[in-house]
């Protein structure tokens, strides 16, 4: 699993499909998630673009695409159970799967150790 400074995570399988979500730290900061807008399947995303929107009672927050590619699946379960983002942010609370356009983008992201060190600085 790789991480961004914006608190997204990416996990790539052997077919070059990246699963994307927000980290436990992000979920804690967001508070109780009440609505998630996931990207449309087929959408081409570029690293750094708006990718999803996650809403708490209080506010809506943008989630940025950590990598570029085409959205091949969105987590439909979040429609009925947005609280999964809080319960299992780095597992069942994933947002979408993306067919990587440029696998090198993943290598540029932080590994868990580096991300945890980054959290220490916040």
């Amino acid at each position: 699993m790789r991480f961004t400074k914006d608190h997204e995570w990416v996990e790539v399988d052997s077919n070059g499909i990246a699963t994307v979500g927000v980290t436990a730290y992000a979920a804690e900061q967001l508070g109780d998630v009440v609505f998630v807008e996931t990207p449309a399947v087929g959408k081409a995303v570029k690293a750094g673009d708006g990718f999803a929107v996650v809403e708490s009672v209080k506010a809506a927050s943008d989630v940025y695409a950590p990598i570029s590619g085409e959205v091949v699946e969105a987590n439909a379960a979040l429609g009925d159970a947005p609280e999964t983002v809080n319960a299992a942010p780095e597992a069942a609370g994933w947002f979408a799967k993306v067919k990587l356009a440029n696998p090198a983008e993943v290598d540029a992201l932080m590994d868990r150790h580096a991300y945890e060190q980054y959290l220490q600085t916040l």
Partner: protein
């Protein structure tokens, strides 16, 4: 994930309960010039539901408290507001709006005549105004009523609200006299060893009290109330979602200097005798709007599908024409759907009207409903 790290901590004021909030693990944010708790450890959703089911404790000391005194403070006050304050009975509180000369709302407020248990008090008004507006409000009152009233700002006092179905029982344990108050009654009383100004009111739609307490006693009152297992501290985040469910407008969002009380669906605050006398600021516009209908109307909207609609979202009719704007909106923890307050053109304000809210470019169906979204539970009769 985007994070808002803006803060201007250096310039922020604090309330007498600031250290108590920090000790409770509050997340502090700038609000109305103060550093205030937006939420505690449990978060907005749980705090909201706790208040609806039990009792929530709120620090609202950022709000402006003042005593207005003078030879005839009630009639003087009527020069700035559309309510019948000459008719305000001792021991009663009234919601009103400060108006500018064009009938726009300078602020909304509570004004009362606090008396003790045998009905004596001074003849002045006790007013509570919004924190973000207080300096301007008191400047306006001072300028407009110069020579008629003097303003004693009670800056050293804290304001604590306890709200929810179990709030009355908790507070009455410490202040038994509070059981004699019904909704919008106000009284001077002694409890916790200090003098309090207590009203049975609040801004959540629940039963409860707002308690003005000397600042140096605030910690003691706060901690005693919090020691009851039915009480949890509630931040401004849940205060906002609670007032939204209660259908209550928020100054600076749903109300501003361009909005009249008729547009804002606050005509109840314009008393009959005042309508006839037409002797308040902006009376020409307001009386005309009462007779002919205003050019825009505040409505309550339930979002039927999709994301919550928040402040700034446009409202369209079923044909797609823009007919209004959301002025505050969010997610209702009780109804588990998006709810909003907005203003629409006349003809789209009837309960049951189907409209759309436009969220991030998507048109989502919504419906005009009767406010409040969640029934009020005020104790109007003892």
């Amino acid at each position: 994930m985007a994070e808002d790290r803006t803060s201007d901590a250096a310039a922020l004021k604090t309330t007498p309960l600031h250290a108590a909030h920090i000790a409770l693990g509050a997340r502090m944010v700038p609000f109305a010039g103060y550093e205030m708790p937006v939420q505690y450890a449990e978060g907005v959703l749980k705090e909201h539901l706790w208040t609806r089911e039990h009792a929530g404790l709120f620090d609202v000391s950022h709000m402006g408290q003042a005593r207005l005194r003078g030879v005839a403070p009630l009639s003087a006050f009527e020069e700035l507001v559309p309510g019948d304050f000459i008719g305000l009975k001792p021991g009663r509180q009234k919601y009103s709006v400060l108006l500018n000369r064009t009938g726009g709302i300078v602020d909304d407020l509570m004004a009362s005549r606090p008396v003790n248990s045998v009905g004596t008090g001074d003849d002045g008004l006790f007013v509570i105004v919004n924190g973000a507006c207080k300096d301007n409000d008191f400047k306006v009152i001072d300028a407009e009523l110069a020579g008629q009233v003097t303003i004693e700002r009670l800056e050293e006092r804290a304001l604590i609200a306890i709200q929810g179905p179990e709030a009355a029982a908790v507070f009455q344990h410490y202040a038994p006299e509070a059981a004699e108050l019904a909704f919008m009654d106000v009284r001077l009383m002694t409890a916790f060893g200090v003098d309090l100004i207590v009203s049975r009111s609040g801004y959540t739609g629940e039963d409860g009290y707002e308690i003005s307490v000397p600042g140096d006693a605030a910690d003691d009152v706060w901690n005693k109330l919090l020691s009851d297992h039915r009480v949890k501290p509630i931040g401004l985040g849940a205060r906002d979602s609670l007032r939204l469910e209660a259908g209550l407008p928020l100054y600076g969002h749903d109300l501003d200097e361009t909005v009249s009380p008729v547009e804002a669906d606050l005509a109840f605050a314009i008393n009959k005798n005042r309508r006839e006398q037409r002797d308040f600021p902006g009376a020409t516009r307001i009386v005309k709007e009462l007779a002919e209908g205003p050019p825009r109307v505040r409505v309550a909207l339930k979002v039927l599908e999709g994301a919550p609609a928040r402040e700034g979202a446009e409202i369209s009719d079923e044909a797609g024409a823009i007919v209004g704007t959301v002025t505050s909106g969010g997610f209702s923890p009780v109804l588990k759907q998006g709810i909003a307050i907005g203003f629409v053109k006349p003809g789209h304000a009837e309960v049951g009207t189907r409209l759309n809210v436009i969220v991030r470019g998507k048109s989502q169906p919504c419906e005009v409903v009767k406010a409040p979204f969640v029934p009020h539970r005020y104790v109007r009769k003892l």
